[in-house]
């Protein structure tokens, strides 16, 4: 079983986590056209590579961002959303 580093609780078994999906900025609903909105709602990028994703540590209720290399099945790093560490990126 894989391990996932929670930014608050440290390295924990992945069964304690919930995977939400890739971080995808929402287009401005007032400005984008219907096609762009539908693309945002329904289409996902399944191509393997380095992904930024929402993950949730269920027992502690911690949402965070994980950067994963889905080709090598490796967690590169994790951080709390909008944390100072993320600001530096």
């Amino acid at each position: 079983m894989k391990l996932m580093p929670c930014p608050v609780n440290g390295l924990r078994p992945v069964s304690e986590f919930f995977y939400w999906g890739e971080v995808r900025p929402m287009p401005d609903p007032d400005r984008c056209d219907d096609a762009a909105w539908a693309d945002y709602v329904f289409n996902r990028n399944g191509a393997p590579g380095i992904k930024k994703e929402w993950w949730y540590h269920t027992p502690s209720g911690t949402w965070f961002i994980a950067e994963r290399d889905t080709i090598r099945d490796e967690v590169l790093r994790t951080w709390l959303h909008a944390s100072p560490e993320a600001e530096q990126q």
């Binding site: 079983m1 894989k2 391990l3 919930f18 939400w20 609903p29 219907d34 909105w37 539908a38 945002y40 709602v41 329904f42 929402w54 949730y56 269920t58 209720g61 949402w63 099945d73 959303h81 909008a82």
Partner: protein, 968 residues
């Protein structure tokens, strides 16, 4: 055969004997014996029958992979005799035998083998009509042990463990690695499938000088405080991030390591010659394990077939234990001039270099062999040498036990110099040592182990990083490139599990299955119980030669867990399915509740009454609510508090309705959408005071809703806090015309219509308990949802039930509630809606406020509203016969096409008819439209669209005063 005089280091204890039976006959062995060693010591030649042709078989590898010596022990099938310790009183029977081992009726199949060609299943099953015949025949012939379905049910708990370094294999390299890592400060676990640690060095070196270094290594490893050695334990697979199931006789231990050293050694590989499966023909290492561990004399007069130093070492070992060596047949044109070859020659043993074994002969045991000149696959049967013997020991090559390395993602390449696959690159935290790493020879294996142990310690940061010189690669080839000898009459077995001969591989390639993965599946090579441990390497060599390509171009088949069979009882173990009970669970059980699962909750479906049917009980509960009063536990609803300056604004973004303008002390219905505008949840939002809201979610949605709200708040960074109080609170819904009077008798607060109107929320004491009371009516009667601290739930229940006696109060369950809300036309999210239902389709558009700046799903709903509506939830009544057979999910069929589905349906005792909700194609939704529902068995039942609510359309029962005021 027979037992030798005591052998130094033997594993058996001769001070007492163990009695056991095999095929009903009595035998004896010693403590420390395995089943196989005890049977061999008792002089039994045939220990099993082969899977397909039922040929007599005995020991081949004696290394936990003797797939032809599998026995049944009582209700336990498929016991591996070569590794299973003998115990007193064991009653054993062979498997895959019709009659007795000696007179197995299946042995006739051997003569029919030409009718069982390669790819038999693929070819046989082409004719559909013949399938039942084949099936019964195969069921009769095939299969190993027998499952006793009446056997005792085993529940095996799993164990969890951790260490710094896991070493798999306790041979010379593994123990050296463990010691090096432990001395660097690591906590080390060493596992080995054998009953004792030590590996092949125990017999490989017997009587030779390096034995002292090995003895000292074994003692130091055993004595080291940071090293745990677990014998008779298999590392059954490799899972991500060093997560290894360790399987022993009792259980699975899931061990998490920080680094793993694979020192699993190598499997000796058989040579492929005619009748190489006769009892008495075995691997050199098998014969030596029998001698050194169990003091069993495997044969009296042996021919050694060698292609490496191990064969000469084996021959000398046999001589030292009083076994006559009739000859040594060496596949190589010339043997390397080593000490062992000189010694053997000095003993006067005939050595036939450049020869192979053309065939072995004998009935139930080998009695002679024919050796012929051999040069790169070409034999010369014209110059045959006949040698009488009762045993053949094969030492022609090795294949690394690399399954765990493959599973961990190591890249392997074929090293021509050493003649085996070796690791090319290893994943982070994985290390290889010893023969699996292509390093042979005791001193070199110990050095390689120490290197791996230190490298693992460095990886863990226990010692400073420095350059570690690797053990130089082998220059001697220990494996012959082509230990395969064609014979016109065949029966030269490549796979002993599946009875596959050389010609089967040739035919498979001819038929186009010339890729290693395809060949495996077509021939079934490596698919038997030993999973190719003795056949895959030869299969790869054969395919490489047939295709004229190097072995590296052929590759190997994919290695997957488990490495070795694991008992299903170990895997099944105990379940860990969480089940939740509300604080009132005990009260429900005492009241005769029949429980049903709702999400992971247990909820009362209804309360059983002696002498009444389920339907009668449910109708009775529903009528009690309509006529008197009912009480239902709604503590399974999700209960969430949100507070802060932005709480109202946050709710407006997640729900479709408007909440910021609510007055404190009021409630409002809320619908939650996903980004595609599909309904995902609903509930009631109460504004407790200026900055504090309390809302409920559906029972099944509570965890996901709370989770997603947390994410959205993380993303939006609004000034509010969200607390999940689902488990903190008990909740009861008191409903019915008598509910106000009943509740009033338990509180001093004014419950009058003016003081506590419909849809209001109040906080006051009920029966002395601080309660949050919402005046809402899911079931369509005057009603109160009372939320109290979880530990007060039972107190409140008791108070209500006691006082309720004089108000006709009955507890009601989920089924009655479903019926009552259906009468009111209220939807249940995820029953009346599915993964595509929009609020317009579910007829809750009234709860959607599109003029808000934003809510989740708003933009999508705007797009959807520009398109024609496909479907609509509508109420219906059933007419005519067959109505009682209609259930949820039955289809509405119009002109032979699916035009909808029933989402809710029930008999209404109040209305005296069958009513329901259906998701209908919009063409059918006009009031009064007739349609047909296809019930179970294809019966068509007539239905008609009617308006909802079915019951009390004006809502007079929930809010009498307002309704009357409106009417006026």
């Amino acid at each position: 055969m027979s037992r030798l005089p005591p052998v130094s280091g033997e594993w058996i204890q001769r001070d007492r004997t163990l009695a056991f039976t095999f095929e009903g006959r009595r035998y004896a062995g010693f403590p420390g014996d395995t089943i196989t060693s005890a049977l061999l010591a008792s002089g039994i030649d045939v220990l099993g029958r082969s899977f397909k042709y039922h040929r007599p078989r005995s020991v081949l590898s004696f290394a936990n992979h003797d797939a032809n010596i599998i026995v049944q022990r009582g209700t336990t099938p498929n016991v591996r005799a070569d590794i299973t310790p003998l115990t007193d009183g064991m009653a054993l029977t062979p498997v895959n035998v019709h009659g007795s081992l000696a007179r197995d009726k299946g042995r006739l199949l051997d003569h029919l083998s030409r009718f069982l060609p390669v790819g038999f299943y693929y070819k046989a099953f082409h004719t559909k009509q013949l399938f039942p015949k084949w099936e019964s025949l195969i069921r009769f012939i095939g299969g190993l042990g027998i499952i006793d379905i009446k056997a005792e049910r085993l529940t095996t708990a799993k164990r969890y463990d951790f260490c710094d370094v896991l070493v798999v294999g306790a041979g010379a390299s593994g123990l050296s690695a463990a010691l090096a890592a432990a001395e660097a400060g690591a906590s080390v676990v060493v596992v080995d499938e054998n009953a004792q640690a030590g590996g092949s060095a125990a017999y490989g070196l017997a009587g030779q000088p390096a034995g002292d270094a090995w003895q000292s290594l074994r003692a130091r490893a055993a004595a080291h405080a940071s090293i745990q050695i677990r014998t008779a334990t298999t590392a059954a697979g490799y899972y991500a991030d060093h997560w290894i199931p360790l399987v022993d006789d009792e259980r699975i231990t899931k061990l998490r390591a920080r680094a793993v050293i694979i020192s699993t050694g190598a499997y000796e590989q058989p040579a492929v010659f005619r009748n190489n499966d006769l009892p008495g023909v075995m691997l050199g290492s098998a014969a030596r394990r029998l001698i050194h561990r169990y003091a069993v004399k495997p044969f009296n007069r042996v021919v050694v077939l060698a292609a490496n130093e191990d064969g000469y070492r084996a021959a000398l070992d046999f001589l030292a234990h009083g076994i006559e060596v009739a000859a040594l047949v060496d596949l190589r044109a010339t043997a390397l001039p080593t000490e062992n070859t000189r010694k053997l020659a000095a003993c006067g043993i005939p050595i036939h270099t450049g020869h192979c074994i053309h065939e072995a002969n004998g009935l139930d045991r080998v009695s002679s062999i024919v050796a012929v000149p051999f040069d790169d696959g070409y034999t010369d049967p014209g110059r045959a040498i006949h040698i009488d013997c009762d045993g053949v020991a094969m030492s022609v090559g090795w294949a690394p036990a690399a399954a765990l390395l493959y599973q961990a993602g190591a890249g392997m390449r074929f090293d021509e110099a050493v003649g085996q696959f070796v690791p090319d690159h290893l994943p982070s935290g994985i290390f290889a040592a010893g023969r699996v790493n292509g390093i042979h020879g005791i001193d070199r294996k110990m050095a390689d182990g120490a290197h791996a142990g230190l490298a693992a310690a460095m990886h863990l940061g226990l010692v400073p990083r420095r350059n570690l010189p690797a053990v130089p690669p082998e220059t001697t080839c220990h494996s012959h490139p082509w230990p395969v000898f064609a014979h016109p009459q065949g029966k030269n077995f490549v796979d002993f599990d599946e009875d596959l001969q050389l010609k089967d591989f040739e035919n498979a390639v001819q038929e186009g299955f010339d890729n290693i993965e395809l060949m495996k599946r077509y021939t079934t090579a490596g698919m038997g119980p030993s999973q190719g441990k003795h056949s895959s390497m030869n299969a790869v060599r054969i395919l490489a030669r047939l295709r004229g390509e190097p072995i590296d171009a052929i590759g190997t088949t994919t290695s997957r867990p488990f490495f070795h069979p694991v008992p299903l009882s170990h895997l099944a173990g105990r379940g860990f399915v969480a089940e939740r009970e509300t604080p009132l669970h005990g009260r429900h059980v005492a009241a005769g509740a029949v429980l049903m699962p709702a999400g992971n909750w247990q909820r009362p479906e209804y309360y059983a009454i002696r002498g009444r049917t389920r339907e009668q009980a449910i109708c009775g509960e529903a009528l009690a609510v309509r006529k008197g009063a009912g009480l239902i536990d709604v503590g399974t609803l999700g209960k969430i508090e949100i507070s802060g300056p932005d709480a109202g604004a946050f709710l407006e973004r997640i729900y479709t309705g408007r909440f910021a303008n609510m007055r404190p002390g009021t409630t409002r219905y809320g619908v939650m959408l996903d980004e595609a505008a599909v309904i995902v949840d609903d509930g009631v939002v109460a504004r407790l005071d200026e900055g504090r809201y309390y809302f409920t979610t559906t029972t099944s949605g509570s965890a996901t809703v709370y989770r997603e709200l947390g994410r959205l708040n993380t993303l939006w960074r609004m000034n509010c806090g969200i607390v999940n109080v689902t488990g903190h609170k008990a909740a009861l819904n008191l409903a019915g015309p008598n509910s106000r009077k009943l509740l009033q008798s338990l509180t001093h607060s004014d419950l009058s219509e003016a003081a506590f109107p419909y849809l209001a929320a109040r906080e006051f004491e009920v029966a002395g308990i601080a309660a949050r009371v919402l005046r809402i009516g899911f079931v369509g009667e005057l009603g109160y949802e009372i939320h109290v601290p979880a530990d007060q739930g039972a107190v409140l229940w008791d108070a209500l039930m006691t006082i309720g006696k004089s108000f006709g109060l009955r507890p009601f369950g989920v089924e009655a509630q479903r019926l009552l809300r259906l009468e009111k036309g209220h939807i249940i999210v995820s029953q009346d809606t599915d993964g595509l239902t929009t609020p317009d389709e579910a007829a809750v558009s009234w709860a959607v406020k599109m003029d808000k700046p934003f809510f989740v799903g708003q933009r999508s709903l705007a797009i959807i509203r520009k398109q024609p509506r496909r479907q609509q939830l509508a109420g219906f009544e059933l007419e005519g016969p067959g109505a009682e057979g209609v259930r949820e999910c039955h289809l509405i069929i119009t002109d032979g096409i699916i035009a909808g589905r029933v989402t809710s349906v029930a008999w209404s005792p109040t209305l005296n008819k069958y009513i329901g909700l259906a998701m209908l194609a919009t063409s059918l939704t006009a009031q009064g439209t007739p349609f047909w529902i296809r019930a179970s068995g294809g019966r068509m039942v007539a239905a008609r669209v009617v308006p909802t609510p079915f019951y009390d359309a004006g809502g007079l029962r929930q809010k009498p005063v307002q309704a009357m005021a409106e009417a006026a």
